[in-house]
């Protein structure tokens, strides 16, 4: 007879399966074996719990069931492959020594190991993302493929190769030691932010944003902060929350792009802003040398703090970009700094910096550079040069709403030229 507080196994799968999988990978030392074991454990639960009642420690039960089902499976396979018997014996011996799975709370949260393993630098970058989304977030191969607009088989291959690499190179299933942690954490943060950005602004296609990936990235970010409250992890979460808070304002009802200065700030999500600002502030307080994500979060927080675009503290933002440029110099950061300086000191000051960037050629194929430069040229009245800039931007822009926006600017500038 099912117990009065019977848990729906389907719901439990959604909430617990990733955590149980992470532990099974540690105990069984093999992704595929763990996936089989997870499947078997939930099958057993679906069959036994309605009959025997829900166990007091469901997670512990599932881990234990998975482990023993794996041993059974290996024993059966050993009839055809003697090697499997050795593996079965080892797992069984370890199971006997280990008393932890009586109690849910005694089982460590192995998801951190899983995240670090999936984001290991030895794996190809696209593989890290696919693996993390599937193993840590529970997305299907098909969902990942749809989200990134690539064929399902391509994603499947990446995941298969990644798992083979982990096995062949015996990548340790562990949280990196303190000396290696910053670099390894950077790989994890990079992967999460890539997922977020893929959801925030699709690289090509009709819609400006794909909500699901951004939500997934934020969930991952939260999990990471929960398990490893490092400053940069919190910085990334703050950054993502603050950028996400603007989602509703970023496109007009007709699907047109709305830039930050023109956004209806009443559409910004207040609770995400509050959380993001609090996180960004806490990080800023505790760290003497802020990392790149913390700085970007501070910039986003500065925007969020302004009730109207006109109230934006541009000098602060320019200073923050300067700090960011010092620790993580890049042409894009230089561009953003130039744009901020244009707002703080006037378009001419910003334009001077952009000309230097143009000369370097680093941003030649970046459509936003041409658009930003064209915008400043427009503001100082150099309409012909602005027109050339917008045309260059259009030649490179791939997203429909961005293209329409640029076409509108181009039309405005052409009218201004005609009016002269």
């Amino acid at each position: 007879m099912p117990s009065a507080g019977a848990i729906d196994v389907g719901t439990l799968y959604r909430t617990e399966s990733r955590r149980v999988l992470a532990t099974l990978i540690r105990l069984l030392r093999d992704f595929d074996l763990a996936e089989d074991a997870l499947n078997d454990a939930f099958l057993a639960a679906a069959e036994q719990w309605p009959r025997d009642g829900t166990p007091a420690n469901p997670r512990a039960w599932l881990v234990s069931a998975g482990r023993f089902k794996a041993i059974d499976r290996l024993r059966r396979r050993a009839r055809f492959d003697a090697m499997e018997a050795e593996v079965a014996m080892r797992i069984e011996a370890e199971a006997e020594e280990d008393g932890s799975e009586r109690d849910d709370n005694a089982i460590p949260d192995d998801r951190l190991r899983l995240i670090f393993t999936c984001c290991h630098p030895a794996l190809a970058p696209e593989a890290r993302i696919a693996l993390t989304l599937r193993e840590v977030c529970g997305l299907t191969t098909e969902e990942i493929a749809r989200a990134f607009l690539v064929p399902t088989t391509a994603v499947a291959q990446r995941i298969v190769r990644a798992k083979a690499r982990i096995r062949d190179e015996r990548l340790p299933y562990a949280v990196p030691e303190p000396a290696k942690l910053p670099a390894r954490l950077d790989a994890v943060l990079r992967a999460i932010y890539l997922v977020f950005n893929e959801g925030y602004s699709a690289s090509s296609g009709v819609a400006v944003t794909r909500a699901d990936l951004s939500g997934e990235a934020i969930r991952l970010g939260r999990l990471l902060v929960e398990l490893l409250p490092e400053a940069e992890a919190r910085g990334l979460l703050a950054l993502m929350l603050l950028q996400e808070s603007r989602r509703a304002a970023r496109t007009s009802p007709e699907g047109e792009l709305v830039l930050l200065p023109d956004q209806d700030r009443s559409l910004w999500d207040r609770s995400q802003i509050a959380e993001g600002r609090a996180l960004a502030a806490a990080v800023a307080e505790q760290e003497c040398a802020a990392g790149p994500y913390a700085l970007q979060a501070a910039i986003a927080a500065a925007h969020a703090a302004a009730a109207r675009a006109e109230e934006t503290d541009w000098p602060l933002i320019a200073r923050l970009y300067a700090a960011l440029e010092r620790i993580e110099p890049s042409p894009v950061v230089a561009l953003n700094r130039a744009a901020a300086i244009a707002m703080a000191e006037g378009p001419a000051a910003g334009l001077a910096r952009m000309e230097a960037l143009r000369a370097s050629g680093a941003l030649a194929s970046y459509h936003l550079f041409h658009a930003a430069r064209a915008d400043l040229l427009r503001r100082v009245g150099r309409f012909a040069d602005a027109e050339a800039g917008y045309r260059e931007a259009l030649a490179l822009a791939r997203q429909e709403p961005e293209r329409r926006f640029l076409e509108r600017r181009l039309a405005e500038v052409r009218n201004a030229i005609a009016a002269v």
């Binding site: 595929d32 996936e35 089989d36 499947n39 078997d40 099958l43 499976r73 059966r76 009839r79 055809f80 599937r134 299907t140 191969t141 098909e142 969902e143 399902t152 088989t153 994603v155 499947a156 995941i159 298969v160």
Partner: protein, 117 residues
Amino acid sequence: MKYLCLVCFDDATLAALPPAERTALNRESLAYDDELDRGGHLLAAQALQSVREAACVRVRNGRTSVTDGPFAETKEQLGGFILVEAHDMNEAIRLAAGIPLARLGTIEVRPIYEIPV
């Protein structure tokens, strides 16, 4: 989601195996079907007789024609199939990789297309 695993191999390779090995392979294949069934994955599985026993049927302009032999003359021919229920493509691939004949031949994994009503 459903996936069809088409088990393809060269008949000659199989025929070249010593009888004891062939028997072991058959037993292992049946055991694997059981493993899939226990895991809730098995929807259907069958081995096929040789392509020499195949017939190709076409109907054109109301006329039925039958030719003997396989649809296409390839080295590896369809020797069996397993229809599986899997969480996603990667799980289907994992299940396919466990098919004993995957070591000798190729398993083509095809996602099932649910025709809209």
